[in-house]
Amino acid sequence: MSHGLQDYSSEATGTTLWRDGWPVYDRGETVCVIGAGPSGLAAVKNLKEAGFGVDCYERETNVGGAWNWRHDRSPVYGSTHLISSKPLTQYPDFPMPDDWPDYPHHTRVLSYLERYADHFELRPHIWFGTEVVKVEPADDGTWDVTTRSTSKYGGAARIHRYAGVIVANGHNWSPKMPSYEGLEDYRGQVVHASAYKDSSQLRNKRVLVVGGGNTGCDIAVEAAQLATRCWHSTRRGYWYAPKYVMGRPTDQVNDQLLGLGVPFRVRQWLAQRTVKLSVGDVTRFGLPEPDHKIYQSHPIVNSQLLYYVGHGGISPVGEIARFHRHEVELKDGSRIEPDLVVLATGYRPTFEFLAPELLGIDAHGRPKLYLHTFPRRFPTLAVAGLVQPDAGVFPLAHWQSVAFARYLRARQVAPARAAAFGRRVESHAGDSWHDGRTTDSTRHWFEVSHVTYLRELQRAIDTLEGAR
């Protein structure tokens, strides 16, 4: 599409909308969704279901986001399985097949997302290979979204105006790299876990895995089976919850207690008892004692780590002090010589197309949102899927977009309810929806307890429905 830049005069006539000399195509009531991963797909479906027009922009050429291992930003590695079990992970209105296992493999999760997109006919709404460059507020709560094709041949940027924007660009793709003294002179190979795809990368190597999160533990377990040597460096002690308790997925047992109304402290005590009885004392394995109570950090669900520590496949070590040319020095003064260092140190949320103040982002980069979804000053903007629950993200993202769709509708037909919702956003932005305190780390910014979180989301939806 060509347009004369010299034609500035028509700016004054007002027939077309303009922004910085570029034409703006007004999409009216249409809502923009950024990203076609699990959260974006749920947003497209729920906005469509609520009767809105939807344009979704996806920089890749297929759906699935992080769960699509073909995508260059996907953090998925060969052995990735779900950490939360099926009923707590699937969309609430599109169950996974009941003959699938409790913890499906990532390829199955992708096929599930593809079927979701096809079943609800979402693909016609998605502009694949199109990247969002900028999102700026315009008049009356509308948004100007600048997009560009990601193809080699590029193409001019285009600006569309939308009645609302839902940001679902994911938060597990921008690697968080720790800085170590001497790292630049180190001659071994150093990769972030995001670049770890296939266990063959570990074969016949001496591997140091850094990070005690679920990814770090998974990679350490793989290294135990394939590498010649595996060290696993963690900063603190963790609770290693097994994937099954009493023959049932652990998260389902936990939810049963929640359903019985067992209070948080009692559940915490019960969980610690259960882990102590079934997993036992981790210091026997040479691992540090947990420095926090269970549920105070993101749960590590891994039944295999201790097994491999006990079989000598994994040597647990402490924090890294510094790197030398051929060695890694640990805080306790000992030195190890890995060929490959895998940094499973997590990801940081990145919104490169949004001005930080739109999401109330503070100096540390932490957004201030209601339910990690709704910013205070910009009610027609929402972020989907920016949560780290003790369950799957899909159901939370589903209800986030349901609430957003109902809010947009209420603005048109029930301003009083929309205002009541606005007051909730105003007074609860930045709250925590996590039971108990978390250890203070950027890692736990988005940590939520799924039941506490969904209970508040239920209240928000009820406010918009005028129920109760």
């Binding site: 009923p87 609430p92 209105d93 096809d118 609800f120 047992v253 969904l454």
Partner: protein, 261 residues
Amino acid sequence: MSVNVLRLREWSNPIRPVRREVLTATPEVDEGRPPVLFVPGFGHAAWAYNEHWLEHTASRGFPAYALSLRGQGGSGPDKKATLRAYAHDVVQVAASLPKRAVIVGHGAGALVVSHALARYPARAGVLVAPVLGGVNAAMRNPGLVLPALFGGGLRLPAAQLFSRELPVAAARGYARRLGRASTRAQWQLLWGTEPEPPVGAPPVLVVGSPDDRIVAPNALKQAARRFGGAPLLFPGMGHDMMLDARWREPIDAILDWLEKN
């Protein structure tokens, strides 16, 4: 009543899978019409739709599917099946279809479908001669319900299910094929919880007969009112509209309604 977000019981206690019988009839040319999933009532199974409705639906361009609930027809056994398990079966089949489905439920299957509509955003719902449960519905047919109270099956004699237009031999043949729902599900039909409101605001059509000996005309009206409409009535027909002599009229009306929507 608003949508229910917290579903702890369903999360912590997922339904066990059983083998599901699904009969299929596909149109000769794919005209892009939505799939229609038929759900039988208690005692019935997929075969009841396979007699006429399945083929007829396909001949009008809709991919047609009929399911047997667990413990009935060719589906796997489950002696302790609950209404939730039945609704689970419906949602599982609906979600496995290539596109958003229309769900049609008959008799007590309509109650199962109302529960399923609260868990799956169907394109539309159709309730045929719906038995939505409750003690009032039971009082109309005490002879039918009484054995069920003592752990037996619902008694469904041919005379209650079909009009006189259907030849006696055919009616008896159908009645002989009837099975029974689980005791727990039968109890829940009496004292179960009300279905939650449907998700995704699907249009819902209620179809019935004023001469149905199981469902009272008033019950039809109430059912239709619940979903904001009036029932579509076919006088002279029995409860089993998909098997009765004039089976063609209601299914044509249902498909016309779908085309119009």
